[in-house]
């Protein structure tokens, strides 16, 4: 199972990456939305099941990235989670409207991220049940 982490902060990518590795994911990384689109295009045969996406990034922000991903039928199966310091209610509404499946506000604990994975049916145990 692969996960893509899209964040311009390398430290943040490392933090999220560590939690996801513990949850059984292989990690792909990108520093902005455009780079993330390129990563997805390069992995067309073996797409990540999850993308954790920061909102504010240079070149292409997270909201635009999510909108772009949702336009492509081939990428429908990717679960999109916004992971950001933006905590206003209307931001959450906009992200969900654009096609994000979940929204996690920074700072968060490892448990909180794992619980979101649980809600999305992406924890090792829940995924195991489906197999």
């Amino acid at each position: 199972m692969r996960a893509l982490i899209v964040d311009d902060s390398r430290a943040m990518r490392r933090i999220v990456g560590r939690i996801l590795v513990d949850a059984g994911f292989e990690i792909l990384e990108a520093g902005d939305g455009q780079e993330a689109l390129d990563v997805l295009a390069a992995h067309d045969g073996d797409l990540p099941v999850l993308a954790c996406v920061d909102w504010n990034m240079p070149v292409m922000d997270g909201l635009t990235f999510i909108t772009e991903v949702r336009k492509r039928a081939a990428w429908r199966a990717i679960t999109l989670m916004m992971v950001t310091t933006e905590s206003e209610q209307d931001r959450i509404v906009r992200a969900l409207a654009a096609g994000a499946h979940e929204y996690l506000i920074k700072p968060f604990t490892g448990d909180a991220l794992v619980e979101k994975l649980d809600l999305l049916g992406l924890t090792p145990t829940t995924v195991g049940d489906l197999v």
């Binding site: 209610q89 969900l96 809600l119």
Partner: protein, 278 residues
């Protein structure tokens, strides 16, 4: 510095008598750390001095604060997920078929800061079979402090990050400064009341669903048995009891039987026990 033997024994017996919570020897550190803030607030240099003073004066409101400080209030939204899936997929639809009054009664019997009763109400709203139904929700706890928080319905960013789907957050909450406030439509549906599970229950009527989750674990066997027996008396004959993931009725009160429902710990009263509830 660690709490002295006499102080620990006093607190342990007080908490046992007032809440049935069992503090085994070895929990000295827990008692110490939970009581430090109370000792400071009342101007005592140490927990030992605070407890010694309490033991002589026995001020009821301070005694109560000590008991409350020793409760564990850990909770989260849709805790363990599974019970709420079971409610939505089987328990609520079954009730919708069998209740003629378009009303169900639910009791969250150790509701802590309110996440549990509010999660139950949100689940009811997401159950198509219950659309247009009234959910009469009673939520109780021993702790006044928790009940006050639950009534207020305000939760920190960290708390709403725990187990609450984003769609649910934007649907049922509003931003209130740095916190999130649950919608009045939900808070107004819950009646919060103080209730100590180890004391005889006040008249409560009958419930279709009871959540008694992650609280029996703190009690000894005799207390668990007594509470489960008294809960039977306030259950509708076909009512459902939800326990915590680590709790069960087997070997405690065998008048209950487990209902096969996913991984949930869901129980109902055995058929042959339904008519002769003591």
């Amino acid at each position: 510095m660690s709490i002295g033997h006499d102080a620990f024994t006093f607190v342990r017996e007080l908490v046992r008598a007032e809440s049935a919570i069992v503090l085994e020897p070895g929990k000295e550190y827990l008692v110490e750390s939970r009581l430090v803030p109370l000792a400071r607030q009342s101007g005592h240099a140490s927990v030992d001095a605070f407890v010694a003073d309490l033991a002589t004066r026995r001020n009821p409101s301070t005694l109560r604060l000590v008991v409350e400080a020793l409760t564990t209030n850990e909770t989260s939204w849709f805790r363990d997920t599974d019970p709420f899936t079971t409610l939505r997929q089987s328990v609520f639809p079954a009730l919708a078929k069998t209740r003629s009054k378009r009303e169900i009664r639910v009791w969250a019997a150790a509701c802590s800061s309110g996440q549990e009763p509010y999660s139950i109400l949100m689940t009811a709203q997401d159950t198509p079979e219950l659309s247009g139904w009234k959910v009469d929700m009673l939520a109780t706890d021993l702790s006044q402090e928790m009940l006050d928080r639950a009534r207020k319905g305000e939760y920190s960013q960290l708390e709403v990050n725990r187990g609450l789907p984003a769609t649910t957050l934007v649907r049922h909450f509003e931003r209130a400064g740095l916190a999130w406030r649950i919608s009045p439509a939900l808070t107004s549906q819950v009646q919060f009341r103080e209730l100590n599970l180890v004391r005889p229950f006040p008249p409560l009527g009958k419930f279709d669903v009871v959540f008694l989750r992650n609280v029996l674990i703190y009690f000894d066997l005799a207390t668990k048995r007594d509470i489960l027996r008294r809960v039977r008396q306030v259950m509708a004959p076909d009512g459902h009891l939800f326990l915590g993931a680590a709790e069960m009725t087997m070997g405690v009160d065998d008048a209950w039987e487990r209902v096969p429902a996913g991984r949930s710990s869901v129980y109902r009263i055995r058929e042959e026990q339904r008519t002769c509830v003591p």
